[in-house]
Structure formats: structure tokens, C-alpha cells
């Protein structure tokens, strides 16, 4: 039995008629075409499906879409402002922190949640913050460097101009 629900995603409202068994991941990718969020294990063990729910990182593969009414959802698509990439996105690109790219959206959102709360983390704190996001390609070194490279002031809204993708 389908249910109507309005989801607020990246600042826009989407009215949907969906079955309760649809996960947020399925709705994002299949109903809304927002394929930036990746389906990898679909089981809660890899973090590739990470999105921000009210600014906190959660697994969209284990979130029922109908339970997200009234919550603010942020996906990787929501990070850039117009044509300007978010500093985390630029940093990942510049530092070679992306190989196949499947873990990247989840990594960046987990990193964003960390930096929004703790703008100057230690390497240990960065590793702990991304410990729910698995990467099979990079060995994590460049990912950690890319996150540590974000200077303290940048996250507070002083976006630096960066190259387009």
C-alpha cells in the first residue's frame, strides 16, 4: 500500500507516492535519479550509501524513505554551490583521493559531518570519522590527506574558488 511522503532533499521538496518497504537509497537512485549516492553492500556494512539526515551521517540503505518526513536530507549532489565545488570535493580531486569513486560520495559526506563539528581534527579523529566508509582502491592515505588539507576557516563558509570538474 503506497504512502504519500514529501522529502526535503538538498533544499528541494519532492512529493512521492511510495511503498513503505522502499529504502531512502532506492528512492534517491531509482525514483529521483540522484545516483550520486551509491549502492555497494546494501546491508549497512560499507558506508557507500551514506547521506546526511539533519546533518548527521546515516546509511540510506537501512533507512525507510517513509520515515524521513520532516527531515533534512543532504546527498553529495547538494554540496556544490552553483558551479563551485565544495572544498572537500576539490580537495579529493586535487589530492588523488578518488580512484573508482564508489566510496567517494559517502566519504565526503562523513568528512563534512566531521568538519562541521570539529574544523581542525587530528589524523586519528579523521580516521575514526571515516571508519564506517570502506574503500577498496586507495588504501585511505590520500583520502585522509584530502580531509586534513581543509584549512580551518574554509568550512565556516569562506569557500575558496576552485576549478570546475
Amino acid at each position: 500500500m503506497k504512502d504519500t511522503v514529501t522529502l526535503q532533499i538538498n533544499g528541494e521538496n519532492y512529493e512521492l507516492l511510495i511503498e513503505p518497504k522502499k529504502t531512502l537509497l532506492e528512492v534517491l537512485r531509482e525514483d529521483l535519479g540522484l545516483t550520486g549516492t551509491k549502492e555497494v553492500c546494501d546491508f549497512g556494512t560499507c558506508g557507500a550509501c551514506t547521506v546526511l539526515l539533519d546533518n548527521r551521517p546515516v546509511l540510506s540503505c537501512l533507512t525507510l524513505a517513509v520515515s524521513c518526513r520532516g527531515k533534512k536530507i543532504t546527498t553529495i549532489e547538494g554540496l556544490k554551490k552553483g558551479e563551485t565545488l565544495h572544498p572537500l570535493q576539490s580537495s579529493f580531486i586535487e589530492r588523488g583521493a578518488i580512484q573508482c569513486g564508489m566510496c567517494t560520495p559517502g566519504m565526503i559526506l562523513s568528512a563534512k559531518a566531521l568538519l562541521d563539528e570539529n574544523p581542525h581534527p587530528t589524523e586519528f579523529e579523521v580516521r575514526k570519522a571515516i571508519s564506517g566508509n570502506l574503500c577498496r582502491c586507495t588504501g585511505y592515505v590520500k583520502i585522509v590527506e584530502a580531509i586534513l588539507a581543509i584549512p580551518q576557516g574554509v568550512m565556516k563558509g569562506e569557500l575558496k574558488e576552485s576549478s570546475k570538474p
Binding site: M1, D3, E19, P20, K21, T23, E26, D42, F43, G44, T45, G47, T50, L53, R56, P57, V58, L59, L62, T63, L64, V66, S67, S110, A113, K128, A129, S131, G132, N133
Partner: protein
């Protein structure tokens, strides 16, 4: 993996939830954070007709403390909140540390205390997809007659691996279960049956509503939770130890020691012989060795998790010694 079909019910209060479960409890599953139930449903281990989604129920999401009743934590409080709550960090830091050990950042944002205490027991031959399981006979936990983990096994040995249970049992916690019949308070250790197939002493019409932790002794008390797992994130424990040490103020001898071991049996269990051994004694290396040997004897893992039963038993011994030494260092 798609979820199976179900009817979605979202009660707005505990009362509404209990009323629904009174009539439909047997065909329902309670959904809180979903980090244990939804993966199992994706594997078709459970196909409830109704999912009763309890979330955002204020009465179940509070943390309160007073000197009479001690700490009361609503079952829907998220692990992430337990990890960071100033009251918990100040008065019961072991609870914060244990919560920080669960799963991953994302899982802790979603998972509830009640859910972690009610996590389904685990076995390599059970936590598998429908496709995998249909290649073997139906196991006892799934309602069949065979144990696939132990040839000829006549009962279920699925291990209980929840992280918050050993520390809370070591702190003497009680839980409150609610139904339309009223409330039932029992000690957390009695919540676990030891039967891998039906690990929790909860009825289909009941909801775990609250956890109560008594005030700690006015003498110096210190709790440690240590977890052995292969990776430093995401994994359940393969062996875990919670130890609460209370020293007599003057003598520096043990007034009370509670050591609870987890993940190496069908339920988390206090090793009462350690408490008896250490009562009134000063903690020194030889007696710590003796106590950790008792923990080793009490651990009964079988080959249904990662690592090997022998390694996990040996880790119980090491973690017990470590936990006792850490307590001593902090209190001395």
C-alpha cells in the same frame, strides 16, 4: 537487496504501540534504528506482516539521573547520544565507551540502546541470505531440527554479541518492559535466556521501554569495556569483557568486582567466581592471573563466528586481565 512486503505502522506513543502489539504482536516486529532488523529482513530471515516503527517517541528518548533512582535511559536513545552525553560521560563513562565501540559512526547515529540490547543472536550459518541458507537444512534457530554449526547439535548455539549488554549487566542494570498488561521490571541479566534460538525473555506484545542503572557505590568504582574484533570498526565483538571494580576506600582491597563476558556464549554472563575470588583481596598480578583464568574457563565459544573458539577464549583471558589492571590503575 529489496525488503520484503510489510505493512508500516508508526505509533506516536508507547501506549499506541502496546495497543497494536496486543492484537498483532505475533506477526509484528518492532523497528527502531533498523540496523539489525532491516539487514535480516533483506536476507529473508524475518518477514513480519507488520513493522511497528517506534521512533521519535519522546517518552522513550530521555536520559534522567537522580540520586534515588540512579540513571534512567529511554530505550530509543541513540548510541551516538550515549557516547557524547555529558551526564553519562561524567557518571558512567564505561557506558559512553561501550556505545562508542558499536558498529560505525553511521550505525551509531541510527541505532538505539534498546535495539542493541535486543540484537538478534548470531551465527555464520544463520546470518546469510535466503539463497545461501537454502543450500543447507533448516536450522534450529529458523524453526528446523538441525544445527548447521555443530553436527548433531540438539540446541541452538547462536552467540549473543551486543556491546552494551555486558557493561550494563556489570553495572547491575534493570530494564522496564511495557505492554497493555502493565509493566515488568527485571534485571538485565535475566533478559537473556541462553537459548540461541530465542535469546530474549520478551513476549510478542511487549516493548522494551527503559534501562535503569543504579547509583554507583560512594566508594571508588571504575568500569572498563574491552572488545576483541578483527577490524577496528563495524564488526561485532568476537570476545568482550566488561569489568566494574569497586575498591574499599581505606584498604585498597576489592569491595566488589563484577566481570561480565560477552560474545563467547549464547548470552552475556557474569563470571561470579571472579567476584567471589577477589572479594576483600588486594589486586596483584598473581590473583589477576587467577581471575582471568576463571574467565577463560567460563567462555564457551563455538565455531560460528570469526576467528577461532580457542583464540576467542584466550582473548577473554587477556581482556579480563587488562580490564582489571586498568581499573586498578585508575582507582589507585
Amino acid at each position: 537487496m529489496r525488503l520484503p512486503d510489510f505493512q508500516y505502522v508508526a505509533p506516536q506513543s508507547i501506549g499506541e504501540a502496546c495497543l497494536f502489539l496486543k492484537d498483532h504482536g505475533r506477526e509484528s516486529k518492532i523497528l527502531a534504528g533498523g540496523t539489525d532488523l532491516l539487514p535480516s529482513m533483506k536476507q529473508r530471515i524475518f518477514r513480519p506482516s507488520y513493522l511497528v516503527h517506534i521512533h521519535d517517541i519522546p517518552e522513550m528518548s530521555q536520559i534522567r539521573f537522580d540520586e534515588q533512582l540512579g540513571l534512567r535511559i529511554g530505550a530509543l536513545v541513540k548510541l551516538h547520544t550515549l557516547e557524547r552525553h555529558p551526564l553519562i560521560i561524567e557518571r558512567y563513562p564505561m557506558i559512553s565507551q561501550a556505545a562508542a565501540e558499536v558498529g560505525s559512526v553511521q550505525i551509531r547515529e541510527m541505532a538505539s540502546l534498546g535495539g542493541n540490547l535486543s540484537v538478534d543472536s548470531r551465527c555464520y550459518y544463520y546470518n546469510q541470505s535466503y539463497f545461501w541458507r537454502k543450500c543447507k537444512p533448516i536450522c534450529i534457530k529458523m524453526g528446523g531440527e538441525t544445527c548447521n554449526a555443530i553436527g548433531g547439535g540438539k540446541r541452538c548455539f547462536a552467540a549473543f554479541c551486543g556491546d552494551l549488554a555486558p557493561p550494563l549487566i556489570a553495572l547491575g542494570a534493570k530494564i522496564k518492559l511495557l505492554s497493555t498488561k502493565g509493566e515488568r521490571i527485571l534485571s538485565l541479566s535475566d533478559f537473556y535466556t541462553g537459548d540461541g534460538a530465542k535469546p530474549l525473555a520478551i513476549e510478542p506484545d511487549e516493548v522494551l521501554a527503559e534501562v535503569r542503572v543504579p547509583v554507583l557505590s560512594p566508594n571508588k568504582a571504575f568500569g572498563t569495556y574491552l572488545k576483541y574484533r578483527i577490524r577496528r570498526s563495524i564488526d561485532f565483538p568476537l570476545a568482550s569483557v566488561a569489568a566494574v571494580l569497586t575498591l574499599d576506600a581505606k584498604e585498597q582491597a576489592c569491595q566488589e568486582v563484577k566481570v561480565v563476558i560477552g560474545a563467547v556464549g549464547t548470552k552475556p554472563e557474569e563470571v561470579k567466581t571472579i567476584g567471589e575470588l577477589l572479594k576483600g583481596r588486594r589486586l596483584e598480578d598473581p590473583i589477576i592471573e587467577e581471575a582471568s583464568e576463571l574467565a577463560f574457563q567460563a567462555a564457551k565459544p563455538i565455531a560460528n563466528q570469526g576467528s577461532t573458539p580457542s583464540y576467542r577464549k584466550r582473548m577473554i583471558k587477556i581482556l579480563t586481565a587488562k580490564a582489571l589492571k586498568r581499573g586498578l590503575r585508575e582507582l589507585a
